[in-house]
């Protein structure tokens, strides 16, 4: 349906096609509707979008010059020889962690929420 640009005077709005992903039984609708309009979920979603953007664009780091920051620790490498205690790495980890937590919260409030493909539910530690 990507050929919409040819017909000029036809509205760009697609026909109103009410196509619920899952048809909920009546008594469930209040519940589902509430979830969708829950301001807290809106907020979580907004933050999630923000984090995804930052992760995609590259993490903004503290831009003080080397000398003004605390001295760097000795490098630590993982078993592939990649240094893992860089500032980039930590900042990224932090955002990823927040992202996972937000997704977990959204799922808790709305079990029908479809998490992104790369989301892994948090491991339950003993």
């Amino acid at each position: 349906d990507g050929s919409g640009e040819t017909k000029k005077r036809k509205s760009r709005w697609a026909d109103d096609e009410p196509k619920p992903i899952i048809q909920l039984p009546d008594f469930m609708k209040d519940f589902a509707q509430g979830i969708d309009t829950d301001p807290e979920i809106q907020l979580l979603n907004a933050r999630l979008l923000e984090i995804s953007k930052i992760l995609q664009a590259g993490v903004q780091l503290d831009d003080r010059p080397e000398g003004a920051r605390s001295p760097s620790p000795e490098p630590v490498y993982d078993n592939l020889g990649i240094r893992i205690n860089t500032r980039e790495f930590r900042a990224r980890e932090r955002l990823n962690k927040e992202r996972q937590e937000i997704i977990a919260q959204i799922i808790k409030r709305n079990p029908a929420f479809k998490p992104p493909a790369d989301y892994r539910p948090p491991k339950l530690h003993k």
Binding site: D1, G2, G4, E5, K8, S11, R12, W13, A14, D16, P18, P20, Q23, K29, D30, Q33, G34, T37, D38, P39, Q42, L43, A46
Partner: protein
């Protein structure tokens, strides 16, 4: 089914995030907005469709700067309704629908920001 859900929604106490201003994100592309004719068409399509939910005060569609500088809010459409009822009806009715092939996301937008013409957000 939307109608029923909608009426129930309106009976609920209005949530804190509700606003008379609705923002449709990921709706239009920068290229479309550069073209005057396309822009007018989009504006008209928006007015016609969005009036169905309530009386509109204003429709704002930020356009890209001709000099190529980044311009806030490009790609979004702001709908200023006379009352919050229109905005929330529109939100329920427009969210998830397709406009020019893009799936519309409708969110309330802070009124004060809108009136100060701050469209980034």
């Amino acid at each position: 089914q939307q109608q029923i859900a909608l009426q129930r929604l309106m009976l609920q106490p209005t949530s804190g995030a509700a606003s008379k201003v609705l923002c449709l994100t990921q709706v239009v592309s920068e290229d479309e907005l550069r073209d005057d004719e396309d822009y007018e068409d989009i504006l008209e399509d928006m007015r016609t469709e969005c009036e169905k939910f309530g009386e509109l005060v204003n429709v704002v569609i930020p356009r890209p700067n001709p000099n190529g500088e980044p311009s806030p809010g490009v790609g979004k459409v702001f709908l200023d309704y006379v009352d919050a009822e229109g905005a929330s009806k529109a939100r329920a009715g427009l969210n998830g629908r397709k406009f020019g092939g893009n799936q519309v996301v409708a969110v309330f937008y802070p009124e004060n920001k809108f009136h100060q013409q701050e469209y980034d957000g």
